[in-house]
Symmetry: C2
Subunit: 461 residues, 2 copies
Amino acid sequence: MLTYIFEKDSKTPLYEQLYRMIRDDITSGKIEAGSKLPSKRSFSEHLGVSKVTVEAAYSLLIAEGYIYSVEKKGYYAEQVGIVPFAQPRSEEAAPPVKYEANLKSNGVSLKYFPFSVWAKLMREVTLNYSRELMEPVPYNGALCLREAICEYLAENRGMRVLPSQVIIGAGTEYLYGLIIQLLGFDKKVAIENPSYSRISAVYRSHGVDCLYVDMENDGISIDGLYRSGADVVHISPAHHFPTGTVTTQKRRLEILEWASEKDSRYIIEDEYDSEFRFVGKPISPMQVSDANGKVIYINTFSKTIAPSIRISYMILPPALAREYEKRLGFYSCTVAAFEQYTLATFISEGYFERHIRRMKRRYKVLRDDIISQIENSPIADRVEILEPDSGLHFILKIATDKSDSEISEICGKEKIKIAFLSEYYVGKKDAGEHLALINYSGISSEEFKKALICLEKATAL
Amino acid sequence: MLTYIFEKDSKTPLYEQLYRMIRDDITSGKIEAGSKLPSKRSFSEHLGVSKVTVEAAYSLLIAEGYIYSVEKKGYYAEQVGIVPFAQPRSEEAAPPVKYEANLKSNGVSLKYFPFSVWAKLMREVTLNYSRELMEPVPYNGALCLREAICEYLAENRGMRVLPSQVIIGAGTEYLYGLIIQLLGFDKKVAIENPSYSRISAVYRSHGVDCLYVDMENDGISIDGLYRSGADVVHISPAHHFPTGTVTTQKRRLEILEWASEKDSRYIIEDEYDSEFRFVGKPISPMQVSDANGKVIYINTFSKTIAPSIRISYMILPPALAREYEKRLGFYSCTVAAFEQYTLATFISEGYFERHIRRMKRRYKVLRDDIISQIENSPIADRVEILEPDSGLHFILKIATDKSDSEISEICGKEKIKIAFLSEYYVGKKDAGEHLALINYSGISSEEFKKALICLEKATAL
């Protein structure tokens, strides 16, 4: 059985020592993924500690996604995402697989990127802003871009914010890193479970503790949030990835209430595809209802314009914006001046709104086409379409006796990439099973047709 | 006298507790900058701890730049760079002062930015790379750009590196953050004293301990480096800012030797303006002599092309490059695909080398003009020009009875911005006094003429 030596004089409680030692063994691969851990009773006897100590360590390990429990069976080590060490290479690795259809990628097709307009604006910028391009861009981004964003948010999202609250950065992942530096590395961050794995990857890579809190039908579990002991919660209330859940107004107010109860609490509102809502009135961001300066709002242009545009922004509450200037204002802005001026012109001259409207129409046509393909295919009898009204993906609930990994494998052989919700859960064994993710922003109707034929075959009863 | 309560049962030694308590009071402003600290003897009696404890705490505080000692006088709190809290603002802050001449800024004039070539290449990229621009850029940057960089480094710097060792990022500060995540937040980083303050600012902002090690005529003090207990040393051997020192070959080998003695040790070689050496043969980077995979080489295109280009890169030793891919490969590259392809073409079609040659000629003419202006001005009698053969700045040693801050103030009133070496030292009171920094990359001959007249007046005996 696993044997651990405790530091008897340590100020760290025994359950936390045990938690850390097991965690490190799982991370390092010493305890293999999927292997069974000792039962609480036998482990406590073996280690000479109380059963409560083992219980507390196991709960922490479950909460943090290192182990999972199977009812009436016991505890098992989670696959914590260790990639096998690459062999020394003398040349560049092979390019990634070219798929016939990729339903996992949430990339945006560059087909609709308004190249000619963008090129025209770049030329204009070199002519009109030649003087400004010579000045260094402020730490928080070019003023004209921050102004254009504020105006756009006021008109389209009902947000009243000042250019001094805006921070421009090269991608949302970079902004997460800045938020950690701003709020402190000691903060515990609650992450939605399931979620986009890169979010927690950024926090973990900065040594920040991530606590997984379950998603419910109304949004992140409010009880789970309280129980987690988190300082900061990172959520996508407008359209959650991957479940597609839109957080209800009631839950939003509960989360704001949670944040207002302690000075150290903050909400990171990550609106990655909020522009694309097809049915009903768009819901205001939580930022609008934030009376206490608790919401850090994040959005990106990679989804709305093109992934080749690496420009994201965050809106800080005024007090945090001052704190940012004071402590992190030494950082140079990571986005080239050129691109900032071009994007500012793109927004302020109305191209952005028109582009969004056009894309929304295109995506709606594509979505309707894909849904009709599904409804008219032999698979129609055994599937159900969930959450199709917002964002750039929906869920296909499939009745099948094949496991998700079997289906992925069969599809993969035909160069069809498919993902299931189950891949995005941490520490929950059977959650999200048979819920396929249909990301349609990057594929064509023809590509989906191929994918559907393959999926029909792979899930046949 | 200052009173502190120690935690008697703590595992943290008393000297470290004392160090932390004083540090926090200096950082928070409770101990004012410039105020005198108690003598070691009286403080140890007052606190009821040994004199050795106080001595150890004071040494740490000096090493970390929180206090400084004045011979035969005592210990004083350092100005640790706290900016007074800004008032809540209802609108954007006023734009920065427009100077008649700015000798502090090491910016690059955009006057010589090859706009028309760049615009032409951007158009070519949209035509030739339309397919590639649709694919996501790999985490480490576009392959064509990494290949172009490797080829350039092989031809011009004698470096033999593979594209798989290159990581492209939006600015060097962002790369420092990635290095911290790669090497670990627990690593202690030795910083040159004096140095460019943003380097330590990035490390500190990530919670990483910075240890200041003195610069000597041959490079960073090797004894100081050993004594510091650092794991990582961050240096600019090709041309140190602000002293202009070029690290000797002997010292380079000593630093490589230091790094090879422990697995955890690494050298960050930051070559921000190595392209511009006017006299003698360029020295090979330390990366070339690195047999043990200890050197992380960093360079940027902001200095060589234009500050509006936010593209930097680092070369990792092969083992670290594999570790990076494994642990940090989830990060999206922070530079837009567009810019990467444009820059790759700019380099591979030879524009970059031609641009560098042209800039070198221009900078040499400008430097010679500026030096001749100095030698033919009334100030000639009381100045000495130091380190003018490399990089984009040199030092003017001025014999004057005015203090550096008096001179800066007089010049400031006439909208001439001037900086002294003394501003870049941490924890050393009179170091670098009367050594003015002449950064000429961003100014014109006319602007320098105005600056010189003002400097002559301000330093008059």
